[in-house]
Symmetry: C3
């Protein structure tokens, strides 16, 4: 049952404190590290090709986020994916802004094709663009609803033999077994930068303990965002409350709050 | 009338949610993105020359901030300014630390000379140094009062055919039509890093809806800083409260608080 | 007496607001700048070799943090250390993740060997690895207790003619005169990224006013962390409260709270 996977995953992350290697964008490095710490995992932000083989040998998962992509990042990302493959570790790809430029779309596809064990986590526009359909995006924000991206997500699941999480008002977790919907979260969350990036980082922590669907991270982030929004006055305090809520989250609250179908 | 410009600008930003492309420094990328989101705009932090033509084709404005400058950033900044020019978009230049090194002063002048539609936003030392006068600075902090930089700002308005905002205890918005003074803000604001950078980012959002003087952003930032300081215990909570206050700001509060002359 | 050094250092930092140049990692640039501002110092994050000679000519100290190291950073760090040496300024080295990769260990040793006036600030695993012993680390987190690293710290004091701060539940300040223990801080602090990096940045501010042991910064950070933890609900609010507490900290509170031996 899905909810058991989620609760068991949370427990395992907190007990084993897996190391998650992140090659992520400059904007969210701090948030992503803090989200992983608050959950109970161990983040490291590392990108040098001179140390990635060592890092991936003791890491639990690799998170690749292309938010501030340039030509210096691409070979490092590809090299890191190769090291993840060699060590049989899952790669979480966050294709930030996919569709907003050819560079982002092509690099996302290259990484997706290269990773042997893969979870893709993006918003509707990014998932649609990655699948080669025409998306409505504006920069890094999605204009399409997450529901509109489910078909694209199904295509990606098959094309890359991966699992896909489409974030939005409703989150869709799409695997070869079908879709799961999550209806937690809060409409204020898109007013804080990097919430999706934090979710991708948490997805890496759960993947490191064997929860490879992306479901547990999406469930935790949605519930935590909802709790935090009840306490927040605006996006500044929302970000603070999310880290506090992640740290405080217990299994009973998670299960009680969860809107899953 | 000035106050009408400010209120109309705020309304327009929230309605049209313009995309603002930022090439900014590593220190403030997160704050700047969050300030733009809290205001109601759409930020993207992108710098690659491989995607800047695409980005500027659908962006509303470009913000260039030289806070963590090196030789890899300069050609990207110049290329982005060229793309902004081609698309007839305004460039906001934040010449962080101008005067503290020859590199910063010369790069600032190069960008200012290159941009066809330009707003410069800096502290007194930066504006004085950019104009070629002798400024008193210490790193990225101004030692001169903003009043001392009004002459330099007037010079820049003419030399670069631009508008200039000098930030300080009093903010001066200098255009070819004359000066406007703003007396909002709070003395605790310089204890948070990147407040000026956030102002420059907001200036880009207003420029994207046609408010090209820099006045509306300075007014909003000053009022919001003042509201936030009343609620804050120190610079940590001030930063949080500023984002909350930006998000909550309504036109009546803005007009009531505004100290403009 | 030790406590006099600490209180005098705090007073001096606030009076002279020394400029501290930081070449630090992408994750913590914002926190480190904010910690220095909240303390009362002036941070600048600069790394270009084209401006480092100028920067170090008017800076009070240099902080080098290898948290997101790659081959582009190393020559800049070495060049900055050379400029610090030329200007007889102290270098604070934060060897983040030392021991987790050969790259990090060797670069840390190169910087330590190069700096003429040096303070090393790290966690137990980093200090042990830097000294060439076998450490237990996981990414950038220490698994060893700080006590286990005192021998390694003593070795480093002699090998590099420097002072060493080992952070942990107990902080050890190790100099050629012996060790001082600090028992402030709080167990929630490791759940916020970059707390050690902030301590290293503050160490630079005190070094700039002649407090070259690392003791004052460790005392201030420990006391402030303890105060903040009493007010915080989790790591999100802890980070906010730490900046507020740094800003508010007065000498009487510092002395009353200090657990030193």
């Amino acid at each position: 049952m899905n909810t058991e996977t989620i609760v068991a995953g949370l427990k395992q992350v907190r007990e084993s404190k897996p190391l998650v290697v992140n090659i992520t964008n400059y904007v969210v490095m701090n948030n992503s590290a803090n989200a992983l710490l608050a959950l109970g995992a161990s983040p490291i932000m590392a990108h040098s090709q001179q140390e990635m083989a060592e890092m991936m040998s003791f890491a639990g998962a690799l998170v690749i986020n292309i938010g501030t992509l340039d030509s210096a990042w691409t070979p490092r990302m590809i090299h890191a994916v190769e090291q993840a493959n060699l060590n049989k570790k899952t790669v979480v790809l966050d294709p930030v802004g996919c569709g907003a430029s050819v560079l982002r779309t092509e690099t996302s596809r290259q990484i997706a094709a290269w990773a042997e064990s893969l979870i893709i986590r993006g918003n509707a526009s990014e998932i649609i663009a990655l699948a080669g359909e025409r998306a409505q995006s504006k920069g890094v924000d999605a204009l399409d609803s997450s529901e509109a991206a489910v078909g694209a997500a199904r295509y990606l699941v098959e094309a890359y033999n991966c699992n896909v999480v489409v974030s939005g008002a409703t989150d869709y977790v799409v695997t070869s077994q079908g879709e799961t919907q999550l209806n937690n979260g809060h409409e204020m969350m898109p007013y804080v930068t990097g919430m999706g990036c934090s979710l991708s980082a948490l997805t890496g922590a759960f993947a490191a303990v064997g929860e490879n669907t992306g479901l547990a991270a999406a469930a935790v982030m949605g519930v935590v965002g909802e709790i935090a929004a009840e306490r927040a006055k605006g996006p500044g305090s929302l970000q603070v409350e999310i880290l506090d809520a992640l740290y405080q989250l217990d299994e009973a609250t998670l299960l009680k709050r969860l809107k899953i179908s």
